[in-house]
Point group: D2
Chain length 344, copies 4
């Protein structure tokens, strides 16, 4: 058994990692850290993790692989020495997601703490970068919104099915905002309500642009991304819209099955992406590492519409990290991720 | 006091009408009908309406104004004799919303029961058709989705701000589906989940097309409309996207306040539309007849983005109907609709 | 029109008061205060209150009646000079609810700031103290839990129907915890969960004991009160249990209608208490000042069971305060409180 | 690998069984039946179960162990021939829970279809009947409410800590009502509301009486049980109240730790019962087979108060059934049930 460590286990992504690793056949979670919680039993911070019988430490103990669930900037700073020491590292923050340091600094409003490591970083979406993930020591685990949006759009962009005029309208459960308190996430304010946010530009947009650009010939896609907060705990559904490029699909209803076939083909060997025949709901992914895709065509306007569903804390964060780790360490890619969604 | 009647009070729109009329200073609800509930006290069907002390009847008694909350087709059939007798009538079904009978029959899959009355019908969105509503005997109360989407787009379409390539992505609470049982609306299935539906074409689309077309020079707008079901009871938030037509707005962030000014100007005398300075949430409209609009610009892609929020059972149905009735009968337009939203 | 003021309008009870006063025919809200929000438009703190067009002040302006929604201790301190100046005052905090200052100080862990005013204070449950409310200048608005529990038990205690061994098991929506942030009320933690709290003694217990003791001959009732937090915004349902005293009711199922008759008789002239024939749900009271009671008998064990439902922010706080104000100022008791519940 | 079958997989308990068996190391789900769904792929009825790649059949195929999730009466009828053929059988319906056939027939209002099998049936609460479960062919899986309530009360009843005057006040998520449609479970009606039901006697009461009676000397406990429906999908929290019998515990706050020690001792070797030091929430058990207990004392009134939490579909149904199966077939009792709760 390899020993894994989680830096900053006290947020939802950290806790979810701990939950998933508990069932991992090849890895044992041996060290967890937290700042204000240091010294407390993990089961006091998260009662459902009591069976792990760990104490939150201040510093990571010796491990074979490390996950960081620290906020951006703090994460790269904490991970740099580990990466330099050759430890396989998975960063759930944004620090190593963007290849372009200027882009990072303009979106995140801070100096990058370790720009020299950026060339080693791999964007950890296995469906697009499986080989690179398997051969790196530094994986940047994608953001929750980009995970679903990129998977929804990649086959269409790659196949040149669409014009690069893309709308991504996402609906997220509140756990995506983390465990830090805020009036927006106060139960009485968030319940029985929906709102749009990030309308002046959300930090997950540049990830989408970077990854979709890699898939297409010029011109680069122009993406409007609007996330919404909806009253549920887990789950992201993204609805993606783009005009069809002429001549690739039939014009009538047949286009709908043609586009599904293209998607099925693109993801045919993927263990965690499923192209479905009817519109999915996020609940079908609750607690699982699965991403469901429903591509279709608005035949009146000749637009592609793709709906994607995932659990923001699993395929959108901790599960994706475990999937990446499995690739990095040479385990079965699905190890520890076999659970079905919990329904209802 | 005028006497009002509600045909088919037993759904949510009917019950909401009864609630609103209870506080109306000029109108007294004197007759309500229902099919399976006929003979029961209204307070047995809806305990919160017990103070109205009405019995559900089979036939409408003599009234001065009638609302129908029947399903489409049944509604026009039931209303035709009343309309022909000269009674002021407000139809909450879709029967009189579309001016083009072929369009109606193709979307609703049935013969129109009273096509000869279509020329008399006014689409009851007072913000666009106030004078016509005030001078007709037959108002077609708009659908819940079109109400928010048309109000969100009308100023931009009218001013020629946008190219006619429109996406309307709507998120609705479950009460919009009515009181009829269905697995999709079963609590355990709908809770903690979000899904898209109507992807092959939703019946509220032709209303949007009809009304937006009236506002613009050719070419007619091409709209993709995708509604979503989210786990809350009341409220619709619609996020509308369209490319800016060149040259009407500044190119930088100033465009955002310019577009807000255009919207403010368009709605400057409207009692129930408020253009707001930060993204609204549906909860700010809960139980009220208010529609909140937040227009902005994605300056990276030069797209207009407009968010609209309303309560689907008030401004999206029963409240709009009361507003229309006020105009038809010459009352103060806000009579019976003064309540603020209930928050939280 | 009388001028009303709200001290500390920035919590949920304060905002709800503002909403209710907006529709009051005899009172105009003319001054609102807040601490951190001072200087801001009220519509910025609470967008749904924008139509009131008020600015949050630091100090209360001259008014004819004042409500305080300050926390305990701060409230009595702020109100004392107003009370001494003869202004009619309604305190939504706990400061004037308990007649016994020692009891207050032991439960609230602080010195009472104005014990000399306690003899003037009336516990503002109109159903029990209507005349006293009408003739005082200082009303202590009851807590949300005691409102429902006392109304549920008063007829039984008064009539000697039960032994004084009482269990009150209450289920409350999260708005009862106020607008102050806390992990317990963070959406992702509170949603899809239920928990008991206050198991070592909740501050609303002594109010229940005080009021129920006033209704019965010795011995004083012994009450176990356990509140629960459930995933909804508004509403409290209390289930109250006590052994029947022998000989007052029939022994079979007839006891159920007998006890309902006793309750109906007790509340026969009350505008805001309704004894219902089938188990109510809190949703039937949403947004209204109504308290629904369903008394019944467990004939197997000869125990009285009473279910009460109310909206914690209306009959459990702001609505009750308005009802009290109406009595104090000689208005119709129901003025401003005529709205039906909003359903669904 | 043993082959398992589920009769009537189309409800929530059946689906949850399928989910759990998917991860079971010793058992493979090989046959599932349903009535209206016969012939459909299981993944069409429940998309999250698509990976099982099963088709719903009309008749159970040959298996090594069978679960029935049929309604009562239908279940015993369907199982009788299997039981008689010697197949290990677990019945999730109520048919074999009550030892007394008259009691069964009076509560369920029907003839028992196989009373001759009752003597073979074991009430499948492993914490009370582990040896019997391990040596029977017919297990009656307990109801969701009794599971939590009996575990909450057993140590106190067994130790003679309490007088037999018991109140069980339970709060359940809506999935407990199953997948059959009903207005009470319609999203818009159940959301943002709480209600009591079963006030004239709920069918889960006789199970509680039967099991608690077995644990105590005369007199038999007198239990009032009131279930409540709260707006969440999964989880039951039961709050149990009873007067302390004199002289067993200290009189002050020390009683609280004493009672916790008694409970800890009672459950010291139990893999799925955890006695916790602070009030638990149902969310801590979401998706897991764990039951959390928090026993305490109301020292003012000398009453025992015990809070229990579990997931109604796991420890309250399908998980309990798998735990029983593990005992029956000689597997590790925790096989397939190792997952931690999913939080948040």
């Amino acid at each position: 058994m390899k020993r894994a460590g989680i830096i900053n286990v006290t947020g939802y992504a950290g806790a979810e990692l701990a939950r998933l690793l508990w069932r991992h056949p090849e890895v044992r979670l041996s060290s967890v850290t937290g700042r204000t919680a240091a010294g407390k039993p993990l089961g006091e911070v998260f009662p459902h993790l009591a069976p792990l019988d760990l104490t939150v430490g201040e510093e990571l103990e010796s491990v074979d692989v490390a996950f960081s669930a620290l906020p951006h900037a703090a994460s790269a700073a904490a991970l740099a020495p580990l990466i330099e020491a050759g430890l396989p590292v998975l960063d759930l923050s944004a620090d190593f997601r963007l290849h372009d340091v200027d882009e990072y600094e303009s979106w995140y409003g801070c100096k990058h703490p370790a720009p020299h490591l950026l060339p080693d970083a791999v964007y950890g979406l296995p469906e697009l970068h499986r080989q690179q993930v398997a051969s790196t020591r530094l994986v940047a685990v994608p953001g929750c919104y980009p995970s679903g949006a990129i998977l929804a759009l990649a086959p269409a962009v790659k196949a040149g099915l669409i014009e690069p005029e893309i709308i991504v309208d996402s609906k997220s459960g509140v756990s995506g905002a983390g465990r830090t308190l805020g009036l927006t996430y106060h139960y009485a304010e968030a319940n029985e309500s929906v709102s749009a946010y990030g309308l002046d530009g959300h930090r997950h947009l540049p990830e989408m642009l970077q990854e979709l650009s890699l898939l297409c010939e010029a011109p680069a896609p122009r993406v409007t991304f609007v996330p919404h907060l909806i009253p549920m705990t887990r789950g992201i559904l993204s609805t993606c819209y783009a005009p069809l490029a002429g001549g690739r699909l039939s014009t009538g209803n047949r286009a709908r099955s043609e586009v599904r076939d293209i998607y099925r083909d693109f993801y045919r060997n993927e263990p965690f992406v499923r192209v479905v025949d009817s519109p999915p709901q996020t609940k079908h992914t609750w607690g699982s590492n699965c991403c469901l895709l429903y591509p279709t065509v608005d035949t009146r306007t000749q637009r592609l519409v793709v709906v994607s569903c995932l659990d923001n804390l699993v395929k959108g964060a901790a599960g994706q990290a475990v999937q990446d780790m499995n690739l990095m360490l040479g385990f079965d890619e699905t190890a520890g991720l076999e659970d079905l969604a919990i329904y209802p």
